[in-house]
């Protein structure tokens, strides 16, 4: 596979994690402008683990997920009782604080006679685990997509579990969910932690993909993009945010389509799309239609199958 294609696909895979993270919160009815913070925290944590402490990649990624989840819980304690715009802006304020704190974060150690570690606004380079362990770009891409597929499978199971139903109920009508006996705060905390973990893993993968991270990558632009991907791709399925990332980074970012005018065309298209499809391309209705079409082509019910043959 072409190097350029591998690099674009890897990038799409990694950004999908933060889009999924925002999507998961949207399911519970909350808009977050701050998922990029957990992406950044995960990136720094995973990179510190492998590049400075000599941990293996798997452990580093786990640390990234854990750091993302625990910081999401920590910030969730005071913010999760807020709603709507108040919650959205509180997450924005938190994420920007994290970004500025990362700008002030200096922690370097000598590795092989060279200083490695976060160095404020100059960023954190030399995250060379992938290179040092002779993992090829293609292999690393496979790793990203394996983890992404795992995350999607997890979300797919989650949406069909009691927990997922509870999330959608809270997202649909919190008062109704409460009267149905759903513990709102606990469920929102779980959703926040899961979303934080997703973003954290994505951050860890990102750091090892680019080998260099700096605080300004994790700014509000990334956060709002993550939110927008779900709205563009569709809120009906976890594949929606992925479609959003694919359209933005894959179709427009890498093909130099409309270069120079890209956002003029794309921004206008998104605005027009949202007039007709306020819940994105793959909205609930579309997902339902695809589902029933699929069942007609590929009937799983044995009685239906035999019926079709006779």
């Amino acid at each position: 596979m072409d190097d350029h294609v591998v690099s674009v696909l890897s990038n799409i895979g990694v950004i999908s994690f933060v889009a999924l993270s925002a999507y998961l919160l949207l399911l519970t009815g909350e808009i977050s402008f701050g998922q990029q913070a957990f992406f950044g925290i995960g990136a720094y944590a995973a990179a510190i683990a492998t590049a400075m402490w000599g941990w293996p990649l798997a452990a580093g990624l786990m640390l990234g997920a854990l750091a993302g989840a625990s910081s999401a819980l920590l910030v969730g304690l005071p913010t999760l009782r807020l709603h709507g715009l108040y919650f959205a802006v509180a997450t924005l304020a938190f994420a920007e604080m994290i970004r500025i704190l990362l700008e002030l974060f200096h922690y370097q150690v000598a590795v092989d006679g060279e200083l490695v570690g976060p160095n404020g606004t100059d960023g954190f380079g030399g995250i060379r685990y992938v290179f040092q362990n002779k993992i090829g770009a293609f292999e690393y891409m496979l790793l990203i997509y394996t983890l992404l597929a795992t995350a999607l499978a997890g979300l797919w199971l989650l949406e069909r579990s009691r927990l997922g139903v509870a999330f959608r109920m809270i997202g649909g009508d919190e008062t109704l969910a409460k009267t149905s006996g759903i513990a709102i705060t606990r469920h929102r905390m779980i959703a926040a932690a899961l979303a934080g973990a997703l973003a954290g893993i994505g951050g860890g993968l990102y750091a090892h993909l680019t080998t260099y991270i700096e605080p300004r990558i994790f700014d509000i632009m990334l956060g709002v993009h993550a939110l927008a991907y779900g709205l563009i791709g569709g809120l009906g399925t976890a594949l929606g945010p992925l479609l959003g990332v694919l359209i933005d980074i894959g179709l427009l970012g890498s093909t130099r389509l409309f270069s120079g005018y890209r956002m003029i065309v794309f921004g206008g298209l998104v605005a027009v799309l949202l007039i007709f499809r306020p819940r994105g391309l793959l909205n609930e209705e579309m997902v339902h239609r695809i589902g029933s079409f699929w069942r007609r082509v590929w009937p799983t019910d044995p009685s239906q199958k035999s019926h079709g043959k006779t």
């Binding site: 604080m97 927008a228 605005a271 949202l274 007039i275 306020p278």
Partner: protein, 299 residues
Amino acid sequence: MIDFVQTTVDGVMVGCSYGLLAIGFTLIFGVIRRLNLSYGPSIMVGAYLGTFLYVQFGAGPLLVAVAVVAGAAIAGIYVERLCFAPMKGGAGVASMVSSFAIWMQLEQAMILLLPRHTYAFPALATGAPWEFGPFTLRPDQLLMLILAIATGIIVNTIIYRTRFGTGLRLVTSNQIAAHLVGVNVRNVMLGAFALASAVGGFAGFLVLAIDQQVTPMFGMWATIKGLIAMMIGGLGSVPGAIAGGLVLGVIEAHAQGLVGPQARDLTAYLLLFLCLVLRPGGLFGKAPEADGAFSSRST
């Protein structure tokens, strides 16, 4: 003590422009109960238009000011028509994301117009700072203060003394009831966008004239500062917006004076975060009621 007073005065000067930015933001939020992320970028359109006239034709500050205000108002109308007017009730998140998409669009269009990273912007007034004993006062800052206050008075007059202003207050208070007493709600919304963006545009002009330069980051800067000042002061309240802007300006000035620029931004966000967590209605506002219309629940 002398430093403290001087820093506070400097903060008040900057805070005035934050207050104006927040007034525009809060007027829009009041009538549509949604977040217009393109608020700052609309102002940027005006700012770039003014800069273009200045750079290309050497336009003076007055003409530039008119261009900034007009450009911002037109961009605001464009945003309203595309991102807010066609949306059915309840599609709050879609509107917000749509306004973000248009933010990207406007920003790139302006970068095509003026591709360099930094451009000069005409000064509001020139002249040596005045000295009052140990204190100094820049003439352009004083002029900015006066103009900001004058703008505040004009906006206040529009809101409380005109028929459009009455309609705007009625829509802000209760949209359906406003329909029922015969307010043309769609026109009021359009007018609110135009007025708010024009006020924001003038605030942007003042800020840029003090800095005497403009960069493509200006749109984002205006959205963020307006948003922080609005939330600190309490959503949908004009006096709150001014107070929020002043508080933000003064606190930023002190944080910068004591520690440095990163501490300034950190303090601003910390203040915002604490306000939201401890007093979600804003420092000066009442309990929030803006929730339902914004939440993704109602998409």
